[in-house]
Symmetry: C2
Subunit: 162 residues, 2 copies
Amino acid sequence: MVRTATTPGSATGDRARRHGYGQLMTVPSYLLNPIGRVTSPLRDADQAPKQGIEGGPEVWLDFDAEVTAGLADVESGDELVVLTWLHLAQRDVLSVHPRGDQHRPERGVFSTRSPHRPNPIGLHRVTVIEVAPGRLRVAPLEAIDGTPILDVKPVRAHTPDD
Amino acid sequence: MVRTATTPGSATGDRARRHGYGQLMTVPSYLLNPIGRVTSPLRDADQAPKQGIEGGPEVWLDFDAEVTAGLADVESGDELVVLTWLHLAQRDVLSVHPRGDQHRPERGVFSTRSPHRPNPIGLHRVTVIEVAPGRLRVAPLEAIDGTPILDVKPVRAHTPDD
């Protein structure tokens, strides 16, 4: 699903011009459709730990009815990577003070895990605690209540990571 | 950046109706703007290994000029997670034969790493081999030439995975 925009003044049109493509050439973008939402006791970003491993709570992942068939074979005890859309993040940020600490020198955002970045996709490694119809209870996950879920993948069996 | 659609017949409008929201309520979607492209010797999906760890090649990550400031502090030897948009994937798939093997029983897509899934975001753990202006040479990465890059994150220092 490719969206393009050439409207003068649109973000994508501006982007095309900055690339020297002119008005007629377009830069494709892609449309994400969330598959569910995080139901969490964390109500705002100030409450959220910086990373799940630092104490993210148990949450429910609530999936849209149209995708629940994709949850077949997910079992309690599974190790998953949950991808979320950090919908409160700023997308025009390219350098940050790590962990929001103004005393630390700024770094390029791609060498940090800051939520503020051009495509604010969160990665959360979790364990499945409970499987219920259309829902998974998992921990730890530091995203706030209502955060859109984009995808769920198993951690690979033959490697400890991603 | 929230996009909504209520146009009858649009994918999002259909989705809203299936959720019982009616025509006036909308389900938000989000617009991804790729930050660059993978330059790879892999020219089509048939050539690509199923996972980078099974023999993905060295590739160049070529970043758009407008985001290269975000690459400051990425260094040779760094371990990164690269997020890509698997632009050739089918998005209406909820169950698959693992690894495309028709002899293996179908599984729910969220318990597999299949590229075919509602939001086909690829996760690739790589090592940086070379840093050049606006580019990073990394390996292994199994995406085909031209695959859009969405994000780059460091592997967390205090845990081997994510």
